[in-house]
């Protein structure tokens, strides 16, 4: 597995775990009709944890494969990245329009903001997931 593919796996799994955890709590709050203010600290803890773990795991990866880390992406990896972005961008667009569409529903600002965040998270999962699929298909 190349450095770039390992990096994609790290990001995919961490986004799934950290933001999956957060949105599971968000869904609980919404369906319970409760206030979302209590999730503010959880949000910052999870985002902070996500950023730290991303940095640490990528640093470990780079230390274990310094040559690959410094070499950067080759032409195939750049192509895979572009194709994955092409797949993920429509997902982001649909999510963005859907979150704007919540204006016409009886949702508050907190829920609308989370709809927007969810669109970004799902698009990123699709982007990294698509990269992984393309890497695996070529292996």
């Amino acid at each position: 597995m190349s450095f770039t593919e390992k990096s994609a796996w790290i990001s995919f799994v961490l986004i799934l775990i950290f933001f999956g955890t957060y949105f599971a709590r968000v869904a609980g709050v919404i369906f319970a009709g409760a206030s979302g203010r209590g999730l503010t600290s959880l949000f910052f803890v999870l985002v902070g944890g996500f950023v730290v773990l991303e940095a640490v795991l990528h640093a470990v990866l780079a230390i274990r494969s310094p040559r690959e880390a410094q070499a950067g992406r080759d032409e195939r990896e750049r192509l895979i990245a572009m194709r994955a972005t092409r797949v993920a961008f429509p997902v982001l667009l649909v999510g963005a329009f859907a979150s704007v569409g919540t204006l016409h529903l009886s949702v508050d600002r907190w829920e609308m903001a989370h709809a927007t965040l969810l669109a970004i998270v799902v698009a990123e999962l699709v982007r990294f997931g698509a990269q992984i699929v393309y890497f695996r298909r070529d292996a």
Binding site: M1, S2, F3, T4, E5, E68, A71, D74, E75, R76, E77, Y134, F135, R137, D138, A139
Partner: protein
């Protein structure tokens, strides 16, 4: 990415060159070992630059390395 209409003799040429490994070839042409593997398996068509670099490593004409088939396999 599927099987492409371009076949290649990279694996044979590597073995003929003192059993050059995929990693050694990758290092010489500036791509990852996984990309070399994808090229050998016909799952990725390299750019012209990379194709010429591969031919230059083996010191053979480009047509000795890559062959185009009208009928995709």
């Amino acid at each position: 990415m599927g099987t492409l209409p371009i076949t290649n003799q990279i694996r044979r040429l590597r073995f003929d060159q003192d059993e050059m490994t995929q990693q050694e070839l990758a290092d010489r042409i500036g791509v990852t070992r996984q990309t070399v593997n994808a090229i050998e398996l016909g799952k990725y068509s390299p750019s012209l630059e990379v194709a010429f670099r591969i031919a230059a490593v083996f010191q053979v004409p480009l047509e000795r390395v890559f062959q185009f088939s009208e009928t995709p396999k």
